[in-house]
Amino acid sequence: MNSAKYDIIIIGAGPAGISAAVLADQHKASVLVLDENCAPGGQIYRAIEKNQKSDNEWLGQSYQDGLPLIEDFRRSRVNYQHSAKVWHLSGAKAVHYSVNGKSHSAKGGQILVATGAQERPFPVLGWTLNGVMSAGAAQILLKESGVVYEDAVFVGTGPLLYLIVHQYISAGIPIKAIIDTTPRGNYLRALRHSFGVLKNTKNIFQGWRWKWEIIKSGTLYISNISDVRINGSDSVASVEYCQRSKWKNLNCKQVFLHQGVTPELNTSLSAGCDKSWDARQACWTIDVDQYGQSSVDGISVAGDASSIAGGVAAAQRGSIAALNMLYNLELISRGDRKVLSKPFKKKLSKEMAVRPFIDSLFKPHVRYRTPQDNETIVCRCEEVTLAQIKESIGVGCKGPSQLKSFTRCGMGPCQGRLCGLSVTEILAKELEIREEQAGYYNARPPIKPVTLAELASLDET
């Protein structure tokens, strides 16, 4: 088996991956970028090249801002492989991936994991019904294909929720209602961090503007609710929400859920990178130093894949990580690393200054992170309910791995991506231990399900 060799292999082509690739290329490193999507941009700048030709103004400025970066990337000598599913990353800096069902392998002097974020699971009653999708899905459908759903109900909290609703409204798509689950107390908690906001007002004002325009548009806006659930037998019939201790019903056929994003963990964890629980963001983050170097030699993690800070921060963190990798490869000096990373660090610190405010404001209520109703499905793949998890804990289950063998929770094709965080928090709560102690699933290769045929095809290459 022959592996192609590169100085740097980057997994992911969002702002972090692309920025790193462009910079590394400028310093004469050979770079391979493996991207799961069919075009560069990640989720934030998804389909940006395609939309460039149309005049879809409703996509907004923050989206269009990504274009120069993608253009630089296209002009570079970086070897870009789209539609590549990375299914194995080893500590020995070898990457296995498949394209169109055929496997390939490559070795890198340095590896950068820039796999971005995923949406946080939203385990409420009825979230597995047909007609319930994530708000991120609504945005992908809109950006990539101009496909929308009229009279849908949007439920949740977080900047991305307001962004997609704002895009819908700007594009003239009627929305039945927005049910805002931002906990009331968050506004006060966020105020304590308002000092940081002063350093980056643009960011915050944009968020307020979206929200203000949503309210101004006359769309039904429901807030201060204490619970929500989705009804229906096979598909969605209605959303119910509890406001001032009264349950109210809203008939609809399509619901979009969102409560923030969390790092894509499986890739870094499978390579053995250390993680920590971040209480403010209520999720696991990958441990990295100021240059994005993880606990595993030669593997760096940048952008939202290490901790959530958004697209602009991701671009800076990607560039900083690239400089460090170039230094490790002896392509630049230690002094160069320091000097060249300065402007990126400056921009990054401006972005980071608003995080405490944003994180506190949009931290989802614990009742939406750990389901309350025993019948709520926690693991979508294996259809494991909260009741089953509690039962296992009752008979001695102590952690996520044991829970797998007790209930199959986390054993399905998504490999715990849609239940892992809930499981950590449920275990912590039920066992009255800290999240760090409760732990997370052991991420093992393959990172993504692969067929035997795909595995076999590797030996032929």
Binding site: E36, K50, E119, A137, I140, E383, P413, R417
Partner: protein
């Protein structure tokens, strides 16, 4: 129902869902094409026979699994449509047999 707001959908190609002919934009992925054509029921869960369809559209949740050209477990939100593609609802019972 899902619908498109783009006035020009570009070239259409033909795919088949459960034997029915669907003309869909060439640059859609399979999940988008089916949703756009009014199909939201992609598969049945093995345990409780619940109907499922796409949830995340970004390759994370695996709820969009479907049978494409005779192969089960195809992650339809990550696969482009192609002319003549034959798609079927995925039903696998817990013993793994059809």
């Amino acid at each position: 129902m899902f619908k498109s707001i783009n006035s020009n959908q570009g070239e259409l190609i033909t795919i088949y869902f459960e034997g029915k002919t669907l003309n869909v934009p060439k640059d859609y992925n399979v999940a988008t094409a089916l949703l756009w054509a009014g199909v939201c029921d992609f598969r049945e869960t093995t345990l409780n026979n619940m109907k499922r369809g796409p949830y995340c559209m970004m390759g994370v949740c695996f709820d969009c699994l479907i049978n494409i050209n005779g192969m089960d477990n195809q992650q339809s939100c990550t696969i482009q449509v192609s002319d003549g593609m034959k798609i079927k609802r995925q039903v696998i019972n817990s013993s793994g047999k059809k």
